[in-house]
């Protein structure tokens, strides 16, 4: 089966900084200047206290494998089964991702495995943050 095309994000004014950061190999999060809440996905206000005073900062890119499935149905991003995972970042927020530089098997993907971000360029506008086993 021919590989289908990965659906790529369409950035909005509120998320453009995140995608610009990814193009520069930076994983950007936001933090509230009033209540210190760190959050994701991006929005120009704090979802905890509603303050509009928020700052963008570069995350460590480190986290752990919280949960995942190995998709074997029609596969838009790979010819073989691949993990769709949720990583919990050291800063707290969680994000969906794929795990790369690693076999896509239950044995190779134990929960709580330490992960670090890596960036995969898709086209001139979009680079996706993916994760790999720490130190890989």
């Amino acid at each position: 089966m021919a590989k289908m095309k990965r659906m790529l994000p369409t950035p909005t004014p509120e998320t453009q900084h995140f995608w610009d950061g990814a193009q520069n190999s930076k994983l950007l999060l936001q933090r509230c200047d009033d209540c210190s809440n760190t959050y994701f996905p991006p929005r120009p206000f704090c979802p905890k206290c509603a303050s509009r005073k928020v700052s963008i900062f570069e995350a460590s890119g480190k986290g752990f494998l919280l949960s995942y499935v190995i998709n074997t149905r029609p596969q838009p991003i790979s010819d073989t089964p691949y993990a769709i995972a949720v990583v919990e970042l050291d800063e707290g927020p969680r994000m969906m991702t794929n795990i790369v530089e690693c076999e896509q098997t239950p044995e190779a993907l134990p929960l709580d495995m330490k992960l670090e971000v890596t960036f995969e360029k898709q086209n001139d506008d979009i680079t996706l943050p993916l994760f790999k086993p720490a130190g890989a």
């Binding site: 659906m7 994701f40 499935v69 149905r73 769709i84």
Partner: protein, 379 residues
């Protein structure tokens, strides 16, 4: 809401369930609505409130020849109909309308008269989930489960057991899509969809519809069917993104909706005779039993394994066979409500003798939303 102030006076599914290639989606709504109106002895001119999901209420009202004074188009996925019941009960109590028709119809399998599916890429889910290769609910709704299994030291056999026991209920149901007995090995050996989920841990994809008619309890006494009263209701939403649910082992929307419904109903869990928990996948009954408070966190798998929810058990659960074996058109909540109503009327295929209270609990999206309705047949 006020307990027992509103009652179901009409409830029906489409004449057929399963494969219905001869009806477009809007006709599935209408077929169920006509069946419900017939058993209630009502004409379109007798209905003054319309609620639906999946089609515009405007389209349903016009198609059926109804001129409503009250409309609800709440669309939050498969539990939308639980919310419609709740909103309709409030509207009837407030005097906004007298007789509400709630409809569902979905050509989930045949896809007749259904807009084409498309993925959008600018919402938060479109930007931060879709690019990672998600392919609908089987590869998304299932993501939290490995964490749940690890947290409570459970196995894939525990998931498979849910499918096996619900098939026992389906065997009692002539309208169920699948009735043949299953073993745990059958479930684990069926084709892999998204590890750890095999095909038999995932719901069916079928065609069908359902409709419910509600009016005040006072007026309900004059209708031909035995009234089924609304005892308590709840609703909530959490997030449209499975990756952002607060706790991978529990649904916040389930907890808020369930607690509110039990509070309104003023009942304890041991008073519940019959339970429906929307089972799009085999883990839903586990989360539902725990988040509704029937089991402590992590104990639902053992509760099911020990046959408490099986035929003959103390808490009959998903007595049609559920979304895993009975039918699942896409927004299954309507069928959970229909079975609760049948159980309260005493007309279910797998009737629980003497049942007086039934809880119908729905999910919308992927742990995104929840609605709960508690029914009773005692005025």
């Amino acid at each position: 809401m006020k307990q027992n102030s509103v009652a179901v006076v009409g409830a029906a599914e489409t004449t057929d369930l399963g494969k219905i290639p001869g009806m477009s989606q809007i006709m599935l709504h209408a077929d169920a609505a006509l069946n419900a109106m017939e058993e209630a002895g009502l004409k379109p001119s007798d209905i003054d409130g319309v609620a639906t999901a999946g089609e515009w209420p405007t389209a349903i009202a016009h198609y059926l020849g109804i001129t409503p004074k009250w409309v609800d188009g709440t669309l939050v996925g498969g539990c939308s109909f639980m919310m419609h019941v709740r909103h309709a009960a409030a509207a009837i109590n407030e005097g906004l309308c007298e007789t509400v028709l709630i409809t569902h119809g979905e050509s989930g399998r045949s896809r007749v008269g259904v807009p084409p599916r498309g993925m959008e890429t600018s919402s938060l889910a479109g930007q931060f989930e879709v690019p990672f290769g998600v392919m609908g609910p089987p590869s998304m709704f299932t993501i939290p489960v490995l964490r749940y299994l690890k947290e409570y030291d459970l196995t894939v056999e525990d998931l498979a057991t849910v499918s096996v026991i619900q098939r026992e209920w389906a065997a009692k149901n002539p309208r169920a899509s699948f009735k043949d007995p299953l073993t745990i090995d059958d479930v684990l050996g069926s084709s892999m969809i998204a590890w750890p989920f095999t095909k038999l841990m995932c719901c069916l994809v079928t065609d069908g519809g359902g409709a419910i008619i509600l009016t005040s309890a006072e007026r309900a006494k004059d209708f031909p069917q035995k009234p089924v009263y609304i005892l308590g209701t709840g609703e909530s939403v959490e997030t449209p993104m499975i990756s952002q649910m607060e706790d991978m082992c529990s649904s916040k929307a389930f907890k808020v909706s369930g607690a509110k419904a039990f509070e309104e109903a003023g009942i304890s869990h041991d008073e519940v005779d019959h339970l429906m928990i929307y089972d799009a996948f085999a883990h839903l009954p586990l989360y539902g039993l725990e988040d509704l408070g029937f089991c402590k966190p992590g104990e639902a798998a053992a509760f099911i394994r020990e046959r408490n929810t099986a035929p003959g058990g103390k808490l009959p659960l998903n007595t049609t066979g559920g979304g895993l074996s009975y039918m699942h058109s896409g927004m299954y909540g309507m069928y959970a409500l229909q079975e609760s109503i049948r159980q309260m009327r005493g007309t279910a295929a797998a009737q629980i003798e003497g049942a007086k209270i039934s809880v119908s609990h729905g999910v919308g999206g992927m742990f995104g939303a929840s609605g709960t309705v508690i029914f009773t047949n005692e005025a």
